[in-house]
């Protein structure tokens, strides 16, 4: 199998920084690492299986209702993920609240089905879906680590910045309040895109 299928979505064709898809959820769920990880995992599972199912069905789908069939399959997977989270990870499902439901509208999923799964065999499609989910998740986790560290002084709930540094305990340190707000996530993603483009000459517009 072509190595590009699973390497490209992580870097050269990263869905967030290169294709600029799935931005709204990257802004919304990256305040803390835990919901970002769960979101990344959920999206990876959904893109993987949506790609697999659509690839299996690809020769039977009536072309006129193609998008509707995609939506039904993706919506089913998302509702399953939502139900499972509610049953086994209730706190996280409360934090993610509407965003789990909004995985349905995550452009990455529909984008990969249209661009890849409808024209490829099931196994490469599954890998492509998982890799794109992972590429999205990687960016989500990096951003959430930065935002949680500088916004709350913790990573995955563990205190990283010593409590004695804080101004309220007689130190010099304040958490950066802007980090908790969505605009900072957008700025961080912008910085990522900038760095990646300055290294990868192919991405630069002439």
């Amino acid at each position: 199998m072509d190595k590009k299928i699973y390497i490209d979505p992580l870097f050269r064709k990263n869905p967030v920084t290169v294709l600029v898809l799935g931005i709204c959820s990257s802004l919304a769920v990256t305040v803390k690492v835990e919901p970002a990880l769960v979101m990344a995992l959920s999206v990876t599972i959904v893109t993987g299986f949506a790609n697999l199912i659509m690839s299996l069905l690809r020769n039977t789908i009536p072309n006129r209702i193609r998008i509707i069939v995609q939506l039904v399959v993706v919506a089913m997977l998302v509702i399953l993920v939502d139900q499972i989270l509610k049953a086994y990870s209730y706190e996280v499902s409360k934090q993610l609240s509407v965003f789990v439901g909004l995985i349905i509208t995550n452009c990455i999923i529909m984008g990969r089905i249209e661009a890849f799964a409808l024209g490829n065999k099931p196994f490469p499609s599954l890998i492509d879906g998982l890799a794109n989910g992972a590429g999205y998740g990687m960016i989500l986790v990096i951003i959430s680590v930065l935002r949680e560290l500088f916004g709350s002084g913790t990573i995955y709930g563990f205190q990283i910045i010593p409590l004695s540094w804080y101004a309220k305990n007689g130190g010099f340190y304040y958490n950066n309040g802007l980090m908790i707000l969505p605009p900072m996530a957008l700025i961080l993603i912008g910085l990522f895109i900038w760095v990646q483009r300055s290294f990868d000459k192919d991405l630069q517009e002439k």
């Binding site: 789908i61 039904v72 399959v73 089913m76 509610k86 209730y90």
Partner: protein, 254 residues
Amino acid sequence: MDTNKNLYTIIYSTVLVVLVAVILAMAAYLLKDAQQRNISIETKQLVLRAVHLGEDATQLEADKAGYIEGEYAKYITDTTISEGGESLPLYICRIDSVQKYYIVPLHGAGLWGPIWGYIALKGDINTVYGAVFDHKGETPGLGAEIATPQFQAQFADKQIFDGDNFVSIGVIKGGAEKGNTHQVDAISGGTITSKALESMVKTCVGKYLEFFKSLKEDASQKLLLQSDSSAIASPITDSTAVSATAAEEVTSKK
């Protein structure tokens, strides 16, 4: 096979939708018990937090559910009282033989969706011991602030009765008067949620007034009979209530 015929399209979509419906129905059925348990644990945790119990549960990731269930079983009894043909739920918390709290569940409509909570009254059925609120989808940073401990802490030691009159607790835009035991600060930018919360407390606690009146009468009779100190309104809590009213009079004279 021609996949673009009308009949094929109709059959295909029907089969697909039925199949998906079956899968989702199965999932909902199989996961129902676990989901119900989570919801009941959350309710129990809220009830416990109203009486300042089980607050360290977040640190016990390992067996949080078991811990909450244990604490709840230890301290809380849920009963229903019937009033005016309506049956109303009431939670009673006994920490020891003297301390007894009445926890009233609250339900109301916020700005975007439902808001709810629990308010715990001390044995004198006047002073608030603690309150918790939660919401479905109030604006983060504005209305959603009702779910923060800072907002909820304001309710402690407020009083719902002014003498014999039920006045509830006002959520005051621009800040509560200093020393007023019937007011708390509203949330800046969350006026509609604040007002909704105020009316929620007023209507929900208001439904229990007759019941509280009968409790108080029972309590005063017991006091007259010089019965044991486990009476509902213990003399200790009465005296704190008196001193609080005295303090209020002092500030209002200023």
